[in-house]
């Protein structure tokens, strides 16, 4: 009994598997190859496009944009604006402290705010760095016990000396660091600009195709109203011979090849539904073919062209209403 049920079960499962293989043709297909992940930087401001679906990108405009972006700095984002007025203040400081600082770009100055605190400024501006140092010092002072003030003073003096000795080294380091950081930032900005430009150009170029690509799978079958429009259009051109007698074989199937614009490329009778040897039938066939060519182009929904392009379309002409 168990063996029997096992055999039945196996048989049923095998048949299900077979049905699945036959009924679902997609099951045989290979899975699509996974594409490598492409990491992209997020660009905050991307120029908008007026291109419509299918439009070609206007390269002239891109060239103009490119030329604009090369000479002046690109339109800075709103966050970058506030530092703009600061450079006049920092410039004199840098000039006064170190002539090498001239190499640094103006933009770097605002970001390197803490650096002037370490750099030895000339007398009048000295107070500011000290104040700035004092602002940081209070955090450390409470850690030292008040009883050891003398020792502290000595230590402070020592630290001062060390700091003075180190200050030159640090200054150079800071300068080098600032230069290297600025260069890095400049490089990154340049890369971002380039990436943004590439992205915008790619987006504008591929906009139409991208939109179309997303629309493709939406195409459905030809609707009843669309079908009725075509049938009514063809009916206007069809005048079957008057006074037809009901001797059978008068229904004619015409097979068409139609291009994407609805033009009839070829019309021929489907002989599998009756021979054209009968004279009345032959005349019906000739009239149907004439009708199709006269009705070309057919008012088909052109956005669904893939439903008929490269495929056979059948027009069935039934003169039953005209038979006496």
């Amino acid at each position: 009994m168990d063996r029997r049920s096992l055999i039945i079960s196996l048989g049923l499962h095998v048949s299900i598997a077979l049905l699945a293989l036959i009924g679902l043709p997609s099951i045989k297909r290979d899975l699509p190859v996974e594409q490598p992940i492409v990491v992209m930087e997020i660009v905050q401001s991307v120029p908008t496009t007026n291109l419509k679906e299918g439009d070609k990108p206007n390269t002239a405009k891109q060239e103009q944009k490119a030329s604009r972006t090369k000479k002046p700095p690109p339109p800075a984002p709103p966050r970058a604006k506030p530092p703009a007025p600061k450079p006049p203040k920092t410039k004199p400081r840098i000039e006064a402290s170190d002539p090498e600082a001239e190499i640094l770009p103006q933009k770097v100055a605002p970001k390197s705010k803490p650096k002037p605190e370490i750099v030895k400024p000339p007398a009048p501006p000295k107070a500011k760095p000290r104040q700035a140092a004092k602002q940081k010092a209070p955090k450390r002072l409470p850690q030292t016990p008040p009883k050891r003030i003398n020792k502290l003073v000595q230590k402070k003096a020592l630290q001062k000396k060390r700091a003075d000795a180190l200050s030159g080294v640090m200054q150079n380091l800071v300068k080098a660091k600032a230069v290297s950081e600025d260069a890095e930032k400049k490089r990154r900005q340049k890369e971002r600009k380039e990436a943004a430009e590439k992205l915008t150009s790619n987006l504008t170029a591929a906009a139409g195709n991208a939109i179309r690509a997303t629309k493709k799978p939406v195409i459905g079958p030809i609707g009843l109203s669309e079908k009725a429009i075509v049938e009514q259009h063809v009916s206007k051109f069809w005048s079957p011979p008057a006074g037809l007698s009901n001797d059978g074989g008068l229904i004619v199937d015409i097979i068409l090849s139609i291009d994407a614009k609805g033009n009839v490329l070829l019309a021929e009778v489907d002989e599998s539904f009756g021979s054209a040897s009968n004279k009345r039938r032959r005349i019906m066939v000739e009239e149907a073919i004439r009708t199709i060519y006269k009705a070309s182009p057919l008012p088909l929904p052109l956005d669904k062209a893939e439903l008929w392009v490269g495929k056979e379309t059948v027009f069935k002409f039934d003169p039953s209403k005209f038979v006496q």
Binding site: W238, S239, A242, I289, K316
Partner: protein, 449 residues
């Protein structure tokens, strides 16, 4: 265990149904587009008939005449609409030259007939033509023939038949003749003669002198003879008239009166009514031996018999039921059954050459009608009516009827003109046939080819 088997079986059925539905769905989504055209335009076929050219490619008088006859024939059928030659952009020069269809497409024509008529040896005219499909640009048909000077009209009718057949699928009826009774003189001294003409009224010819009164002429299947009723010495009898020689002959010699003759489709028999001993019945006659055979036995009047196209049945009218009605019987006189049941009286039934309908004369509500009905009596349609309309006769293709119509008389005795008319079985295109005098009792010949 059984439950388990049942459960698995159910599971299998459900799954297989699911997969089958899936496959069906995928098949449907890949199905080809199909459109159904069931409505169309009922309109005459637009066609261009070019004037026929001579050997120099020029339009000749004969060429013009031929084109005009063809054009008139096709237009008179009501199924064609020939385009005026003045509208032609570039008239064709010869049938051998392929037309430039861009010159014909704007005219909206479906067909273009191009032909030539050239004088040959012995006074013959050589005629050839090609019928083109303007839409597809392909030749539909072509033919050639020759005719003497008197045969121009006939060859033109034959070309018209050719075109008619190619566009309708039915045989043409233009190369046919009509025999009828030509009437003249006052009502008190009416002269009735046999006359014959082409279906369009041309080539008119009187066959008898009018010395005897004649009625109900009928063509033989070969169209070489005419059977008719002739009052010779005031004795009505069926006679036979040979068209080629003009010779006449009485059919049989019986006591009593014979009338309403009609040939069998095979031509070897003829049926008619014989009034004898106060009874009028239907008899058939062997045309070789002139022996007669009685088909009906009734005390009433049985008359106007007409064979079905296959010769197996006969329709006639009889008052055996109390009023004049139509009956159908087998060719041997058996299996008689009434087929007309509507209000009014019915007479002169004629079986269509197609075999599917019967034409008749109907009298109801003080009016006469020409109508048709199916052979079982259903589907009655009245096509024409008038003070007196009578005697329908079929064109060989069974699509057109001819009959005669008499106008009412005025108080002063005037009026009463009688004309032969033609009408399509759709009830449209009623057209009078021009005759030299009053005309009645028409009979359409079979196709002459």
């Amino acid at each position: 265990m059984q439950r388990l088997i049942v459960f698995r079986a159910l599971k299998f059925i459900l799954l297989s149904s699911f997969f089958l539905l899936l496959s069906l769905f995928s098949t449907l989504t890949n199905a080809q587009l199909q459109f159904n055209i069931t409505d169309g335009q009922v309109a005459p076929t637009p066609i261009a008939i070019a004037n026929f050219t001579n050997e120099n490619g020029e339009i000749s008088d004969v060429g013009k005449q031929i084109a005009q006859i063809i054009s008139n024939d096709l237009e008179s059928s009501g199924l064609f609409s020939p385009v005026d030659t003045a509208a032609f952009i570039a008239p064709p020069t010869a049938p051998a030259v392929r037309p430039n269809f861009t010159n014909w497409t704007p005219l909206g024509v479906k067909g273009l007939l191009v032909g030539s008529a050239q004088f040959g040896e012995g006074g013959k005219t050589l005629v050839e033509f090609v019928l083109w499909d303007v839409v597809t640009g392909k030749p539909i048909a072509s033919a050639e023939g020759e005719a003497d000077r008197n045969g121009i009209r006939r060859i033109a009718h034959q070309i018209a038949d050719f075109v008619y057949e190619e566009f309708t699928g039915d045989i043409g009826y233009f190369d046919t003749r009509v025999v009828y009774v030509a009437e003249s003189g006052s009502q008190s001294r009416r002269l009735k003669r046999l006359a014959i003409m082409d279906q369009d009224g041309h080539n008119h010819q009187y066959l008898t002198s009018g010395a005897d009164l004649v009625l109900t002429p009928r063509f033989s299947p070969t169209a070489n003879e005419i059977a008719y009723l002739n009052y010779f010495n005031d004795e009505p009898n069926v006679y036979l008239f040979e068209i080629a020689t003009g010779r006449t002959e009485r059919l049989g010699s019986f006591p009593g009166m014979t009338f309403a003759p009609r040939f069998a489709p095979s031509g070897d028999k003829l049926i008619m009514s014989l009034a004898q001993n106060g009874m009028t019945d239907i008899y058939e006659m062997d045309m070789r031996t002139q022996a007669i055979n009685r088909l009906t036995y009734s005390a009433s009047i049985d008359t106007s018999p007409s064979y079905s196209p296959d010769g197996k049945k006969i329709v006639f009218n009889s008052d055996r039921g109390g009023s004049q009605q139509l009956y159908v019987m087998d060719a041997d006189g058996s299996n008689v059954r009434r087929v007309s049941f509507n209000q009014g009286r019915y007479a002169t039934p004629v079986w269509s050459p197609r075999g599917d309908i019967i034409a008749f004369t109907k009298m109801a509500n003080g009016q006469f009608y020409i109508g048709v009905m199916k052979v079982d009596g259903s589907g009655e349609r009245l096509l024409a009516k008038g003070f007196l309309v009578e005697g329908p006769t079929w064109a060989p293709n069974g699509r057109v009827l001819m009959y005669f119509k008499q106008q009412p008389f005025e108080a002063d005795g005037s009026g009463g003109e009688t004309r032969v008319y033609r009408i399509d079985i759709t009830g449209f295109n009623e057209t009078p046939i021009i005759t030299p005098s009053d005309a009645s009792d028409p009979a359409w010949s079979p196709a002459l080819r």
